[in-house]
Amino acid sequence: MKQLLIKPEKCIGCRTCELMCSFGHYNQFNPKMANVKVFEYEQAAVAIPVMCLQCEEPSCMKVCPVHAISRDASGAVTINYGKCIGCKMCLNACPLGNISYHPAAGRVFKCDFCGGEPKCARHCPTGAITFTDTDATDERRQAVGDRYRDLIGEEAAK
């Protein structure tokens, strides 16, 4: 199983992810119709891309009155527009704000992993967004191990 992993320290705030996302879904460039949004914090000097985290217990899925929301084979929680009645209860239920509505789209929308190959990750120029196996966090965990190595390893002892 893969997941979208963000590394905020690599994000340069270019918003390519927003563009690729809206184009991938609607054939138009419009950050307001993207399932990902980059937040730029000027004083703190960081930019952070935020998108649906594909919860294990999705409130959107639970609250949907017509059972239009389900998990697909890629692991993404997706909306079946054949069933969706546009009531927007999912938008209200998501505690993380990761479901949106735009008049031009005329429907609610959320990250669907682009069917298994998320365009935000494919086109992120710096690797701030990657679509990787769920054990990818081992890389970060290893950084903790590396610190112990530096402290008590053979080379450090010399």
Partner: protein, 600 residues
Amino acid sequence: MNNGYIGRILRINLKNGTIRKEPLNDANASQYVGARGLGTKYFCDECDPACDPLGPGNNLVIMTGPLTGTAAPSSGRYNAVAKSPLTGTIGAANSGGHFGPELKFAGYDGIIFEDISEKPVYLYINDDEVELRDASHLWGRDVFDTTEALYEECGSNFRVACISAAGENGVLFAGIMNDKHRAAGRGGMGAVMGSKKLKAIAVKGTGSVKVARPEAFFNEIVEARDSLRAHPVTGAGLSAYGTMILVNIVNGVGGLPVNNGSEGSLFPNADEISGETLTARHLIRNKGCFGCPIGCGRLTEIKAGAFKSKGEGPEYEAGWSFGADCGIDDLGAVCNANFLCNQYGIDPITMGATVACAMELYKIGAITEEDVGFPLHFGDAAAMVRATEMTCKGEGFGKIMGLGSYRMAEKYGHPELSMSVKKQEMPAYDGRAIQGIGLEYATSNRGGCHVRGYMISPEVLGIPQAMDPLTTENKPAMLKVFQDLTALCDASGICLFTTFGIGLKEIAGMYREAVGSDESDEEILLKGERIWNLEKRFNIAAGVEKDTLPPRLLRETLPSGPAKGRVNELYTMLAEYYAARGWTKDGIPTDNKLEELGIK
């Protein structure tokens, strides 16, 4: 519309306060592409070349291109076009960040500002809701402060382009600043904005940019983006070190002017002001403009000492102008001066070069401590920062420096010490060590400038093919192609820096699929040549002086380095250049040429 353009522009008459939404002129868009090209076409059709740059007859045109706001690489650009108060030429300055795309998302390809407002105003754009609002409370405030105030007033999700008191007070090289740190920097577009009593534009939009052939367009942009990421300059060098990576490279060919060019162009302490040093000591993080895979922007901080400060940049040109050109190797001072330029919205190339010129005037005794208010020796970092601050704030001798180096040097009897062409300062490459860039300075349509035809690419970086910087052979023909391609690139709405990694094939490809054209690469490049000739025709009608270089570059040989003993051989290149352009031997576009290009 589904062709890269929105299909609508705003026309604002500042005197009457009228706001009109009018359809984009499609025929002109097809001929002049957008941004720099289309903006210039609108301008030339509506304004008298003899107009006073700071008077009511000088329109200010803000224009995006068909690729602006798309996922084409580095597509955050817009152009500001007006007659330049610094040079008297056509002024066209472009900028990245996020402002240009937001204007398109709001539903406009561009804005034409006419005449002069009675009192300070700013333009508020929230999709279809467009208003001129009172800006009395913002007048006199700096760029950062004004931008913050407008975030507060309009909403933090607005994008703001504005000027500071420098633009209001007519500093002739004041630029327009957007997203706080990005600049339509050269030629005084901010002074034009100030003369109109237009403080700022705040814009927010929720609309889309659509292209003619989505699938084919997507393939083109993915190919272009992947090429940029794979290229050593755009995928590694600029990303890792910013444009300051050039300091050591250009110094390596002996082309980094020292002390206003009076001490040649080999700076012994270049590494102290290099991109490598900036990255090691002061970099907080990289920043990318809208849709940019290169990410050359730097967020930097000088953490301690006399020059403690924080901001974005510096770019290579500012690193040189406040550094080597003033004989200064203190990177803290260089950064500090650059941050001041951003805060007050002035062009750091002209600023640093004007301080360098003042230092030389001081050295020869043409100006004294009494004129300046303090000693102004080459190498004095604190004096350089102080001189910059005085110019930003319009204090004392800063008022004279605010006119640029040419008018300052002329006032003190030494115009030959201004390292400028058509009164705009040449940037950070010595035309004696790099012959082709000298020809570019002389022939650029906006005065001394490197980004109308960046000959450093072939002459120093070997892109797309290596040319010996010391020779003149084939430079005129190469420069013509570079100038035309640059005009096309600027007009399309993507950043010139992409052209390190992609060329005509990719730019024409993206343009074609965006607008839905079936023109050949050559036909599309011809649009660049058309833009160049339109600009030139305006300059001639405006009575701009002939193409030449400061006497220093033509007569004083370089004392050291790989180009020791050289001057710029402009006059062996100029005739060939005019011939390549199909102009008269005096550099005037012929009627035949203009007709061939369809310029009316």
